[in-house]
Amino acid sequence: MGMTMTQKILAAHAGLDAVSAGQLIRAKLDIVLGNDITTPVAVQEFEKAGFDSVFDKDRVVVVLDHFVPNKDIKAAEQSKTCREFACTHCVSHFYDVGKMGIEHALLPEQGIVTAGDCIIGADSHTCTYGALGAFSTGVGSTDMAAGMATGEAWFKVPSAMQIVLTGSLPADCSGKDVILTIIGMIGVDGALYKSMEFTGSGVQSLSMDDRLCICNMAIEAGAKNGIFPVDAVTMQYLEGRAERKPRIFTADADAEYESAVEINLSQIVPTVACPHLPENTHPASTLHDVKIDQVVIGSCTNGRLEDMEAAYKVLNGKQIAAGVRCIIIPGTMQILRECVERGYYTAFIDAGAVVSTPTCGPCLGGYMGVLAAGERCISTTNRNFVGRMGHTESEVYLASPLTAAASAVAGYITEYREA
């Protein structure tokens, strides 16, 4: 029996010729990642267990992104713990305020992750890097600590769900509408413990930003990872960017998939996940009666340059509806700078939006846009659980940047329509 793309990467990193679903393996890691919330717990465990050095100072990445610039004294202490640990162990990829970005926008942009890698990150959205043809998965702080100490992690080799993409997306849709549609079809545990392997002729029509967004939300279907084949789009993205040479793995023709889902991209419509689960999806066009108080455009799901372009396309020369707060958060300093250079920043301000430096803040109800009881937000983030963005009686609707920006102008949920 052949192997899936994920299984091939895992076999190569475990030093095995072949692996099969369900097998427990120990694999070598190319990158171990943590942020300002998960790293302090990892540092605590790392030190408690008596480890005194990291396996490779160039393969450990620490990004302060959740609560920075520090939202309160306790958050400041956590940042300080990360900073001191990075300094003590000479961690070369340490990203502090001024250089940081939202981790899953930052690592691909900086070329820290590449095709064929085996990556763990103490952040559930670490599955994002599957877009580059890497095996990448979210873990907890103890796994991060173990990864930092040994350069290895244990895995149960996942079985796979094949997602066959055909056609190409309509102009008013993006990767976000694709992944929301898939989660709506298979449910929040539809791919539990599995890898979501994207294939088909439709792959080539998707930009890297679309792919990163799609893989980012694989975890919202319970998946261990999402992964795209490496093609011309991938190689063009990695060119002159990746620190290490990409390694290309392809699924065997007789690879085993537990199930398959077919998605015709040309049939996708602007989609919104209603409270309180990402699987609760509806076409945006059926939600015009949902009035909103706040809009968030940003996050590790949708804070990339194409997302900012989409927001600009809608908001340029327009006004945010009365009574609506619109918060725009470019994912990295480089993207923020590009927004300034291209005039997006001015257009956002003129439209009545606020623009923040990169942060995960509002996505998880940390700061920078926390909701009061009864308030509703349409957001380009990834989760709409009870209380996710603030009060347990607030509501979060998940959507693409085009839909979120169009809704900001309308004051209610609506799909974007070309003027």
Binding site: G140, G222, G387
Partner: protein, 165 residues
Amino acid sequence: METKGRVFKYPDNVDTDVIIPARYLNTPDAKELSLHCMEDIDKAFAANVQPGDVIVAGWNFGCGSSREHAPLAIKTCGTGCVIAKSFARIFYRNAINIGLPILECEAAAEEIQAGDEVQVDFDTGVITDLTSGKAYKAQPFPSFIQNIIAAGGLLQSLKKEQDHE
């Protein structure tokens, strides 16, 4: 090893945001986190849970964020075990890595009621509902995972290994 206690029962898809809301993630202190355990799904839980008590839930328990603060809060407030129909994968890993006992058992998760007194034997995977008198058998862990648990967690088992080399 075993635990015995009262059952707190929750539905499907209990996510890590309700187990430990992000507003409390500005500290890695387990004791402090435990004071807010389950706060956004059950405000009374943290105040009422007694050592050895058991959480019983539906499918996909612990979905969402990778925050280890979630199993840490559950463990630190005294919970003896979590029984669910299934666990989200990061929560599953985290629970094993920090030594919070968890068991997958669909029938037990379906039938055991809130407030029941249950006894769980981790070596055999037998769950006994002392209130209804019914017994259930959960899937035991593979030996690889049992070794991690026996060592007291992932890092302890790795350290032992490293010290032997």
